[in-house]
């Protein structure tokens, strides 16, 4: 993409994101992509968005229809039954082994309390059933230490186990693998370059630690500069940064909501949001994931019924959603949320942990992706861990609101503020993304990420895997319903040089265990091709190509 954002050639990764109904790819002769010619998509015309099972349709400004595909293919019924049988077998063997351990035929390898007669036991034996019998079999794919910067490739420390994953030994060697597990969307996890040099300079000036909270002597000029720059980046009035992303949610939602307020949160919201909502004392209602009709129904029911016993009106209603959901890979339907918010006068708190920097034409997140006005959402929240290669979180919005949070937030009062070197890293990255540093590096990374994500997804779908999520999101989960197969995929992929993350019950629903790939701008086409080749082999070996959708035979060009 050129410096002014115009498309330099005949392939535009952003336009390709929108498959137009008239079959063109949006270049319409004048070589301006749809988003540029439309400007910001008119809100009223978005009111006709349908929520179909396979595709959703928005009307662009010229009446040109834009499809966003958000397919969610369910695994076939016989697979689910086999999945239940597999869990039943694991449970039966679990009980058998526990029985053998009880009658001392088998050695108990777990930790056992000693000299505690008469004390209440610390842990119930039943509560560790799952860990002992199911998790223990597959835990060699978890908690693997790495010894380098988590960039496009990583050095993973080798581990050997002689007693079936109860203990590990480290021979001291490492294995190089392509990193498809780190949230390194824009590839800023680097240990050399101008960003790192600037951070080093700041380290020499300010040292490492901060030594106080924001309310005491812990506010540093770099943090203020970062907040101003961040507000500029996001297109809002003001922002505040915190040292930890999880804590940003869990300590600030109680500042905003209290008893008598209503929080309506998405089914698959992150644990930090749930923790914050619980701590706040507000009532919580849950709506089905990304289902705008359900959300509207819940809002209406709650407004009509009011608070629980008194039926008084709610003090405020806050809708909490995320930009990209990291386990599903779906992108929130932002135009519809804004429409609902304006209709019912609710507040919206948008957690852009995974989407800031990762989607959008200019990398500004979900509002940029849909072309919405950032001032429509009351509270933007995000973390710097994913696309920025740093740590910490932020909240952004109107100046009044941010000033209130700065005074009342528990994180600002009790937690140490963000370290100056990290603030410098974030600022350098923002400058790169905005193009302020004078290079086109930011735009190139954004374009590469978008291209990588779409290429990887389309090739995986073509291979026959069931891939969840929006076509543009860099988080690519593939469904592997059986936990044994998840383990097989993670282990085999690692021996062939790909590092991935698996997730199963109880973190996901019983039959939708998945393996997740995080595509990064630092992945080259060769790396993605290697990953796809490996997944193709594994898919045939382990039989996980469950998709029944017709596969396109067209050659997918990068």
């Amino acid at each position: 993409m050129g410096p002014d954002g115009g498309c330099a050639g005949d392939y535009c990764p952003i336009v390709d994101a929108i498959t137009l109904i008239d079959g063109t790819n949006g270049l319409n002769g004048s070589h301006k992509c749809v988003q540029q010619s439309n400007g910001s998509i008119n809100r009223q015309e978005l009111a006709n968005s349908m929520n179909g099972k396979s595709k959703r349709q928005l009307n662009g400004q010229n009446g040109r229809q834009i499809y966003i595909s958000d397919r969610k293919e369910e695994p076939p019924l016989y697979l689910e039954i086999l999945c239940y049988i597999s869990y039943a077998v694991l449970i039966i063997f679990g009980y058998l082994r526990d029985f053998l351990r009880k009658i001392r035929l088998e050695k108990t390898r777990g930790a056992v309390e000693s000299h505690r007669e008469g004390y209440v036991p610390l842990y119930q034996s039943f509560e560790s059933f799952f860990t002992r019998n199911i998790y223990r079999r597959v835990c060699d794919g978890c908690n693997r230490p790495i010894t380098c910067v988590p960039g496009a490739e990583i050095d993973v420390m080798d581990r050997v186990t002689n007693d079936y994953n109860w203990t590990f030994e480290y021979p001291g060697t490492t294995t190089r693998a392509i990193n498809m597990g780190s949230y390194n969307y824009l590839g800023f996890a680097e240990n050399e370059g101008t960003n790192v040099d600037r951070v080093e300079g700041v380290l020499h000036k300010y040292g490492v630690g901060v030594g106080a909270t924001r309310h005491e002597l812990g506010t540093i000029d770099i943090q203020r500069e970062l907040e101003l720059r961040l507000a500029q980046f996001l297109g809002v009035e003001s922002s505040i940064v915190f040292g930890m992303g999880f804590a940003t949610n869990s300590t600030n939602i109680p500042t905003l909501a209290s008893k008598g307020c209503l929080i309506i949160s998405d089914e698959y919201n992150h644990a930090s949001i749930i923790l914050g909502s619980k701590k706040s004392g507000a009532s919580v209602a849950v709506f089905k994931h990304n289902d705008m009709k359900d959300l509207e129904r819940k809002i209406r029911d709650n407004i009509i019924n009011g608070q629980e016993n008194s039926h008084r009106a709610w003090k405020k209603i806050i809708i909490i959603v995320e930009g990209i959901y990291s386990m599903e890979g779906t992108i929130i339907n932002l135009p519809e949320i804004i429409k609902l918010k304006l209709k019912y006068r609710c507040y919206v708190y948008l957690d852009e942990a995974h989407s800031i920097g990762a989607i959008g034409r200019r990398g500004r997140g979900v509002s940029d992706y849909f072309g919405c006005d950032p001032k429509d959402i009351d509270l933007w929240m995000g973390t710097f861990t994913k696309s920025f290669g740093a740590a910490g979180g932020y909240i952004a919005g109107r100046k009044q609101l941010i000033d209130y949070i700065a005074v009342h937030s528990q994180s600002a009062t009790y937690a140490t503020s963000i370290a100056p070197c990290i603030a410098q890293q974030i600022m350098s990255v923002i400058n790169v993304i905005m193009g302020v540093d004078g290079t086109h590096d930011g735009q190139m990374r954004i374009a590469r990420l978008s291209r990588n994500a779409r290429y990887f997804r389309r090739r995986l779908k073509q291979l026959g895997f069931v891939v969840y999520g929006n076509d543009d999101s860099p988080v690519v989960p593939i469904m592997i319903c059986f936990c044994s197969k998840i383990s097989a995929v993670v282990r085999t992929a690692f021996t062939k040089g790909i590092g991935t993350v698996g997730a199963a019950f109880p973190a996901t629903p019983l039959t939708t265990g998945r393996v997740r790939f995080c595509v990064s701008a630092s992945h080259t086409k060769e790396m993605l091709d290697k990953a796809l080749r490996v997944m193709d082999e594994i898919g045939d070996q382990v039989a996980i190509k469950y998709s029944k959708q017709p596969k396109s035979c067209e050659k997918i060009i990068y």
Binding site: E74, L77, E80, I81, Y84, I85, F126, E127, S128, F129, F130, T131, Y135, V138, C139, G141, C142, N143, R144, I146, P150, V156, N179, G181, S182, Y183, N184, M244, G245, F246, Y268, H270, A271, S272, I274, L275, K278, V284, V286, S326, M327, A353, T383, T385, G389, A391, V490, F494, G499, V501, G502, A503, A504, F505, P506, A507, T508, L510, T511, R516
Partner: protein, 170 residues
């Protein structure tokens, strides 16, 4: 949901991501898995497989096999739904459900949901079938009826969180 601890820094790469800070604290997974798609069909298939396995013993009469199926099914259901308490994993909600049996945890305690109705109806249907195939013989009837009562009484909403004589309280 995956390893939600990944919000801190980017060092953790290959994580199984089970409940390492990630179990959705709002929802107890134990309350939902019986509602999963295909679960009821699998349950019925499981009972059928048990019955066929018992039928393969040549020295048992049809009546005995049906009574045995009914009694074994009810005993297993009683143990798993009404005796075992808590969750087989460490829940993220500080043990709120540690004292509840699985039946009390289903759908977070809401009564008369479809899963609860299904699990109530299955022993009743099994009882009808067993009575038919044992030709209403009095001995089999008494045995089957007691087994049915054993598994139906704890399901009544009046027995929610009730522990008779302090048995199985902690």
């Amino acid at each position: 949901m995956c390893c939600r601890g990944g919000r801190r820094a980017m060092g953790v790469v290959l994580v199984w991501g089970m409940m390492l800070g990630g179990t959705p604290a709002q929802v107890n997974p134990n309350s939902l898995w019986l509602n999963s798609r295909g679960m009821w069909l699998s349950y019925a298939c499981g009972v059928l497989v048990l019955h066929l396995a018992l039928l393969s013993f040549p020295f048992l009469s049809v009546a005995t096999v049906w009574t045995l199926t009914n009694v074994i099914h009810n005993l297993v259901m009683f143990v798993f739904l009404h005796v075992l308490k808590g969750t087989p994993w460490e829940s993220g909600d500080q043990g709120k459900v540690r004292k509840l049996t699985h039946w009390e945890q289903i759908d977070d305690g809401i009564q008369f949901t479809s899963t609860r109705k299904f699990l109530t109806v299955v022993p009743i249907i099994l009882f009808f079938l067993t009575s038919f195939y044992t030709k209403y013989d009095s001995f089999h009837f008494v045995v089957n009826f007691i087994a049915l009562l054993l598994v139906l009484l704890p399901k009544l909403p009046q027995f929610h969180c009730v522990r008779l004589f302090g048995i199985n309280k902690y």
